[in-house]
Amino acid sequence: MSNKLTSWFKLDNSGKIFPEISNQRETNTFRIQIALTEEVDPEILQMASLGILERFPMFKVRLKHGLFWSYLDYNTKPFQITKMTHEVCSAINFRENNCYLFKVLYRNNLIAIEMFHALADGSGVITLLKSLVYEYLKLKGYSVMPDNMIKTKFEKSIQEEYEDANEKYYNKKNRKHIPEKKAYRIKGTLLPNNNTGLISGTINTQKILEISRSENLTITEYITALMMYTIYTTQIRYRTHLKSNKVPVKIFVPVNLRKHFPSETLRNFSYFLKTNMVMSRDDITLEELFNLVKNQFSEGIKKEELIRKMSENVAFEKKIIFRFMPYFIKRYALKIGYNMLGMKLNTMSLTNIGKVEFPKSIEPYIHDITFAVYSGKFNTVNCGIISYKDKLKITFTRSILETNIEKEFFRHFTDKGLDVLIESNYVEEFI
């Protein structure tokens, strides 16, 4: 099947927690979706996905439980693509999905992959999706070239793609645990039936780059600061006397560590930066937040700090008492621990996947790309950003009915004279 010596994998360090803490509301899935310029043919997509899975044995796995840990075992069942339903980043029903930990969805001109976070992170899924789209277009009979940017199905998989890079960079001496405080929670009316609302806005990349350059910031920094400001104006300002508004607003921003530490892995290899501010004043300005975010990001992105965060988690997993705790006890320990502490540490997660590039021969077939993450009971609004050519797409997913944050956020750009093209799944229409 591959050049992997065994047919099973350990879950990587950051993936270990997800199978235990996920449920119907906290699904820990994310979606990357490509809109083609033409209708998708499901039969060809099915063939393409079967072909591509042979190249990526890492994704051809199912989740199983051993005595001490869950693990990923080779999946003998065939993979099946599914038609997209209204559900966005819903929990993957493994039994209905032939035990696979990800879904390939199609609808009209969309091809999407919904991935369970235990298996891979955004960068891994981008690699998979690129190969899938290439394979699909190839099977359709178009003359497309991989141009060394795409892993095609005739390539052999390499050992480095499976590695648990967290453990590789683990440093025993730099693993101090720093306890964190609970974060502010965005309030709203919870949508019934675990529905997720999705609103995305497409903005011209060049123009948004100009705006953030004028403030000496990167796009991620600019958007993070703006997000904090939006949360502040819509949720906190003039209500600072409330006790629930005196906790810090924390935006969780994942960083792709492949850019900082050499690694080829397709599995989870990302840590996070975090902004942190108690917004209990009535006169906070956007400029002030620009400085705050810039400082806190430059603190967090230091190599030692990234390794510390990584080692902190790996050290937790390496604790003897925890390692040899039987799985059925460990499972509940993780669940309870996460619900009490882990879940409440972020107000919102804001992920910027960055620029996705395709070979010149494929570009004409691709309209745009969307990236969305799940939203849960505590992180009620989450944000995903991805850019393709001149289209920067900011996607909000929400588990609440209110759209204040989205509205104020996009109005900031339209007030500056930028064109914003909105898409929505109109979840409010159907509840």
Partner: protein, 225 residues
């Protein structure tokens, strides 16, 4: 393309209002368009099919009436436990044996172990004289046949052998129980236990001799810490 002049955004949709501020959208679509995302379908709760409900009802009624008759004419024996456990086993047979989506080796192993448990229960708890037949004959013979059955399945469906292998190991380990019981004199008739033991050991040795990697891998992945 439609516009919301309050939010100053453009949107391509068939809906009438702006998703951000819920104001009415201006303008019309230039051409008929398909909605990007599918309509939300309200999730209907899974309703038990009527047949399942009827069978469930009959089961509960019969368990209740058996228990009440036993209690009303109580003469020192809990005879109703035999049919009640039979009924419960029947439920497992339907649930695990027929409707479960797990693989066949899992189903076979589970049902065998349950059946043995049930028979031991009937043997010891209800018929005070003449007991021991379940441990002497049925347990070793059932384990032996399960062992042979799973081996044949693995041989026949070679493609999925990895999925089945663990359950074969479980049944082999269980097959060692009768011979241990024979040593402590709970099992008095030896030949069925010895047969089961021999079959289990020969299958185990076969795997160790011819597929050594399989067994180490299975142990590694199930017990890695």
């Amino acid at each position: 393309m439609k516009r919301c002049d309050k939010c100053n955004i453009t949107i391509i949709t068939n809906h009438k209002y702006c998703p951000l501020c819920h104001q009415v959208l201006q303008g019309e679509n230039d051409e008929p368009i398909k909605e990007i995302y599918p309509d939300t379908i309200s999730v209907t709760r899974m309703i038990l099919p009527t047949t399942k409900k009827v069978i469930m009802y009959l089961t509960i009624i019969s368990i209740l009436s058996l228990a009440i008759i036993n209690w009303a004419g109580f003469n020192g024996s809990y005879w109703s436990l035999i049919p009640i456990s039979g009924i419960i086993y029947f439920w497992f047979l339907v649930r695990v044996g027929i409707f479960s989506k797990r693989n066949i080796a899992f189903r076979l192993a589970t049902l065998t172990v349950l059946m043995i448990g049930l028979l031991i229960f009937i043997d010891f708890d209800t018929v005070p004289d003449n007991n021991g037949w379940s441990l002497n004959y049925l347990m070793p013979l059932l384990l032996m046949s399960a062992n042979l059955a799973i081996s044949v399945i693995i041989w026949a469906k070679r493609l999925n052998y990895r999925d089945y292998f663990f359950y074969l190991l479980v049944i082999i380990v269980f097959s060692l129980v009768p011979i241990i019981l024979a040593f402590v004199n709970i099992v008095t008739i030896l030949w069925p236990s010895i047969c089961a033991f021999l079959v289990a050991v020969s299958i185990l040795l076969f795997i160790i001799f011819f597929f050594p990697k399989l067994i180490t891998e299975e142990i590694q992945k199930r017990f890695h810490a």
